[in-house]
């Protein structure tokens, strides 16, 4: 093979060598690049304060989600209320979800254990899921497939999504959330229900992902269980 990655029979067999060779010729040996400044607002250390929860709620609601703040013992009642109002009858629960969040009556519960078929997931009205972290200033929450969150498909096909967050999971801003996200996991970063601006740039909710997003925040759950696989 020559320097341009051309195999001796004349065909470019090794695209890798071709591209790397071109880059090295384009750049030459002199590779000066100034250091990266990071003078933008540093990740804030605050977590779970009432002000942050309020800001998160405001931003999420601005993105057309609903947010309820409850005490630890009231989660199941809040979930039952959401299910009742939205008419959600078949609701999926991912493995590892806190059982106390699940109201006893009012809905049929589909545990993804053993894994449900795609048809079963598609046939459900909603998923009840935990999350990994949430960023207040951008109104963002993150799922990473950890306990109580399960496979990506569970929060994708059903029309509605109910997310339960612990106050201690709400950080101030996106950089603080990024520090808690583990790229080795399948991350889904959610900032509101599915939406499009493709028609005349006016926002429409609900294309392919869940059209309805309800968030329940447990205000007195500041101390969260350790993040499975997270970098903390």
């Amino acid at each position: 093979m020559n320097a341009d990655g051309q195999a001796l029979d004349g065909r470019a067999l090794d695209g890798r060598a071709v591209i790397l060779g071109r880059i090295r010729r384009a750049l030459g040996p002199d590779r000066d690049a100034p250091p990266v400044p990071r003078d933008y607002a540093p990740a804030s250390l605050e977590v779970g304060t009432p002000e942050l929860i309020a800001l998160f709620a405001e931003r999420m609601e601005g993105a057309h989600a609903t947010v309820r703040r409850v005490h630890d013992a009231e989660v199941a009642a809040a979930v039952a209320d959401i299910a009742g109002r939205r008419g959600l009858r078949r609701i999926i629960t991912p493995p590892g979800l806190d059982r106390r969040w699940r109201p006893e009556a009012g809905a049929e519960w589909l545990a993804d254990d053993p894994p449900l078929t795609t048809g079963q997931v598609e046939g459900a009205d909603a998923v009840l899921t935990a999350a990994t972290v949430a960023a207040a200033d951008s109104g963002t929450l993150v799922l990473d497939g950890g306990p109580g969150q399960g496979r990506r498909v569970l929060s994708l096909l059903p029309d509605a999504m109910i997310v339960v967050l612990r106050a201690g999971q709400v950080v101030a801003d996106f950089p603080a959330a990024v520090a808690r996200m583990d790229p080795a996991r399948p991350l889904t970063v959610v900032s509101g229900p599915s939406a499009t601006v493709d028609i005349e740039l006016s926002r429409v909710d609900g294309v392919h992902g869940p059209r309805e997003l309800d968030v329940v925040i447990i205000e007195d759950a500041a101390a969260e269980p350790p993040l499975a696989g997270g970098r903390g």
């Binding site: 470019a12 090794d14 695209g15 071709v18 591209i19 790397l20 071109r22 880059i23 384009a26 750049l27 590779r31 000066d32 690049a33 100034p34 250091p35 990266v36 400044p37 990071r38 003078d39 933008y40 493995p95 590892g96 254990d113 053993p114 894994p115 795609t118 951008s138 963002t140 497939g145 306990p147 399960g150 496979r151 990506r152 498909v153 994708l156 996106f174 950089p175 990024v178 520090a179 790229p183 080795a184 399948p186 991350l187 889904t188 970063v189 959610v190 900032s191 599915s194 939406a195 499009t196 601006v197 493709d198 028609i199 005349e200 740039l201 429409v204 609900g206 294309v207 392919h208 992902g209």
Partner: protein
Amino acid sequence: MPPFPEAAAHALRDSQQRHNLHKATRTIRAKRDALVAERDDWEQLRLSAEAIKNRTLAHLDEYLLQFEEAATAAGATVHWAPEAESANRIVAGLAIDAGADEVVKAKSMTTEEIGLDRALAAAGVDAFETDLAALIVQLAGDVPSHIVVPAIHRNRAEIRQIFEQNMGAFGRPAPDGMTDDPASLAAAARAHLREKFLRSDVAVTGANFAVAETGTLMLVESEGNGRMCVTMPKTLISVVGIEKIIPTWRDTEVFLQLLARSATGERMNPYTSTWTGVHRAGSGSGASVIDGPEQVHIVLLDEGRTDVLADPAGRSALRCIRCAACLNVCPVYSRTGGHAYGSVYPGPIGAVLTPQLRGLRSEQDRNLPYASSLCGACFDACPVRIPIPHLLTHLRAEVVDDEPAFPPSPERVAMKAASAMFGRPAAMGLGERLAGLAHKVIRGGPDATVPSVPGLAGWFGSRDVAVPPAESFSNWWSRTDGGTRESGDGR
């Protein structure tokens, strides 16, 4: 496709399109401005983004190798495609190996750029676009006119008609009772595409960012069609330009804070998905299941990017994160629309990126650097601080340098004359008096434009220049003493 001056003149006569564009770009500009103003550290974020991308480009070979190693370790297969043709061949081969005769696609300008859909069709594989705007464009047999909102040139009434007439030919037809309300149109697209998501074994996407440190790909979107593509099919193929690399996971905090604000005027886009090779999810009873695709392929694409890299003065165009902010603020783009640029990358970034990617060979590419008023709004809006006006003049110089010195082009003659005149006030005065004379020769009403001037057809053919006024400003100034003695003798 005709060169820009001709195509633009044609586009300007389409009053429906001008109305649609005006409305859409004005909406998005207002939303962006409000959210950018909210960040005190906007300029610091831009400076970081610029430096991160410069660093990436300066060590691109090393970061690509690091990315390959990390992605491979996580279970992905990395392919390298020096040209569009090799990328298309790799993707078609993978789809056929997977036994697929159709694929679902998340919107990707990179696959538009390489003409992947046509290549797949030639290999017997149908490609279905799943982004709403990309679907509108595909159903209409149209081409994208904007990077973020490819159907920006269409209004709701046109979209309703496109759905009604053409959806049936691609799958589930538009429902009875569909109106031109955007919500009704989006619901029709949801139903039309759902069966495709549930049935397709292969998805093809692009990626907004590829993290070298971790081997992670990231897809930024709004609708959930991207989530569908990275979740439902068994095989996921992503075509990623080599300039999409960023060095570290932490760098994502810079770009994600910039991108949505710049692109759609939101604090954060509704969905961002990341994947690092093949993922497994724990199930409650211990056994782990695959979460998402079983096979993850990444095609790293050059296709002219290393040529751009080779020009230190033009290289900064590779920093582009395709947010389209420069399109939305551009006085030229917002009137002509995207099609006139004859490239999937329209607007200011297209005017500098396309000719560099393709080389300044065709008439069309040699015209693109002139498709600008050099007002500078694009640089101000650009989240990675690409000096687009500077690149435009750099490329114009290349176009002119490339021309044979004899016979001299009208641009050369005009520029020579202008530099001689601006350099000497006396000559300037004489020039202005001559222009006044020209007024008498050319004639026309107050709003008339210069039709043509013998010997300068090339210059005036692509520029609407007002007929020079009868009196020059400096003449008027000395005659009226700066307007204080405006006499009633107005000729």
